[in-house]
Amino acid sequence: MVKTITVALIGNPNTGKSSVFNSLTGLKQKVANYPGVTVEKKTGSFNINRTTDVQLIDLPGSYGLNTKSLDQSIVFDLLLNKNNKDFPDLVVIISDVENLKRNLLLFTQIKDLEIPSILAINMSDQLKLKGIEIDIKKLEQKLDTKIVLISAKKNEGFEELKNVITNYRNLSNKSIFNIREIDHEYFTNLNQTFPEQSLYKLWLLINQDINFSKIQRNTIETTGNFKTQTESYLKKLQQKETIKRYQWINNLLKETYSKDIAKVHGIRNKLDRILLHKFWGYAVFFSILLLIFQIIFDWSSIPMDFIDSTFVSISQSVKSGFPPGVFTNLISEGVLPGIAGVLIFIPQIALLFLFISILEQTGYMSRVVFLMDKTLKRFGLSGKSLIPLVSGVACAIPAVMSTRSIENWKERLITILVVPFMTCSARLPVYLILISIVIPNDKIFGIGYQSLTLLGLYILGFLMAILSSSILQLFIKSDNRSYLVLEMPDYRLPLTKNVLLNIWTKTKSFIVEAGKIIFAISILLWIFASTGPGDNFRNANQIVENQYSEINISEEDLELEVNAFRLENSYIGLLGKSIEPVISPLGYDWKIGIALITSFAAREVFVGTLSTIYSVGSENQDTIKTRMREEVKPDGSPIFNFASGLSLMIFYAFAMQCMSTLAIVKKETNSWKWPIIQLIFMTILAYFASLITYQILI
């Protein structure tokens, strides 16, 4: 029989905990230097031998158990609630060699929960380099635990770690710190009231104002003979606990840990001097952003064109190779363009996450927070809002989720509300295709107009986010002051494995989550474009032939006219036409209207929709770009000109065209109020901004 051991992985942020998780499970997980990125509970599994499986839970990075935050509630529920199905058999605390002291604070707290615990010291390959010596034997003895030296980078020590995990029953589960030392009177009183309970667990419960376990809290509060203390008093006790624990740890480390100061390298100082410089720091940051966008633009176009043209030729061969009929049309005009519409984003998403993970893993992201905190505070945001804002460049959904690391509710709410203005990757295909059609492919000072336009759109999104947040901060009231307390991690080279895993996870989740919506809508679109109500649709042939009965027209042209007429009278054509009066002042026709409606589900559907609409009945299977370029108004001028192109880009820059984002905002704010406000505000803004753009440029 196979037995499963449940193991929780916990540690300070920046200890390489996620790398350890990756090394053990091979499963997808993100490593970051920004505290709080690992908000979600991540699990993975691996088997040690034929009879032993391990379920590994990656808990959010944490400095101690006293911190009050949303992340912490996850840790609490898991470690204190024995009824939790994931209650661990043992906890592995990850430390890095340099910050052992700070990590031991967390270790002693976990140990006092009386759960078997292992201390795994990561980055052991740096021991010599940093001149650090640790007396493992003695430390093990004093901490009453097993210690394993590991290196996620060199993949060392994992066999031993697995070995210790297998034999976890031999580990001690005794507490090591006497909590009564903090305040004898208070804890004696507590013990008398609840003689059955573990004192430290009770103490943690009292301190948490999260409601992970209301019943237990209520017991404490309603018990008459136990005096509830003021928050201020409890906080003093918590400080005292921290001081006492550190004293205990200091004494311990004096005997077991030494560091040769002469071997301290000055990379941090040298890099900080430039990267945090009052002028050069910002110059470097904005240059990096510019470089990233230029690279995404340049590098993604080749694979995107490849995906596009590959699917065009597959569609063509399906159409010519299969017997004609509804099924063949469904495959070549509905399914294949639908799949292409999903796959075409992969190059950009992969590239973007390549850069985001490198910025995070090198430790640079924390420097950016440091640089930007004051500026962002002015707009009602926090320095920590920068991570969600930058992540919003990829996708608003993970970005909204990552706001959980912002402790202050007001700043968090504002960040959630403005993140969708950031240029997400779903806008990128819309922008790229419009830019390539309406912006000339010329250069100024070696930089293309096209990439400058793209950069401009990114800046526009950011400015609108900032502007909206400064308006929002006037309306959203809050009593709590916001804090920035942020670790500035060492600079590190990113681990290739982690970067690749991160890219893979993000791309996969895009394909699975957004892809199914895009695909489904593509099919639906094809169906609604191929069917229609009334006689006009059914008798399209007849009607058009009658119209042209007295004019000399070739067979082929007539067929095109029939198809256009049929599309106009299909369900989707009627829908697009019904909104045409509203959108024509923006420079759009009913076909674009259809794309606007369908892309409400997700912006990227825009390109796929146009592709489907234009390919319905069209014999020559050109690329989407060519088809869009060839679209003309009744007077023969192109639909996609400079004015309408920019107007469309502005519309997509500001409009909340994403159902999934609305869903996640509802989830994170726990009400429909905020997503609805967001939707109305953004749509109205987008409409009028596009209207003004088009009317000025035309």
């Binding site: 911190t67 550190y246 004051k374 804090y483």
Partner: protein
């Protein structure tokens, strides 16, 4: 005793007291505790966050939180 916010780059100081009601506990968990020595590594800008080293931790804290940490120059 002066507030940590008044220090300049390169200053060394000993933490004397922390107005714990007004700062997050994470600050103390990172080693910012009375009796510990700190070194100011940098200031982002006027009224911007302060970058400091305390008890082996490198942290940055906003100026208001910094003003709740009372120190004595060394």
């Amino acid at each position: 005793m002066i507030g940590l916010n008044t220090l300049k780059k390169g200053d060394r100081a000993i933490i004397k007291d922390i107005l714990i009601d007004q700062v997050p506990l994470a600050l103390m968990e990172m080693g910012c505790l009375p009796g510990n020595e700190l070194l100011i590594l940098g200031l982002a800008s006027k009224k911007g966050p302060i970058y400091l080293k305390v008890d082996q931790s490198h942290i940055s804290i906003d100026i208001i939180t910094a003003s709740k940490v009372l120190v004595e120059l060394k």
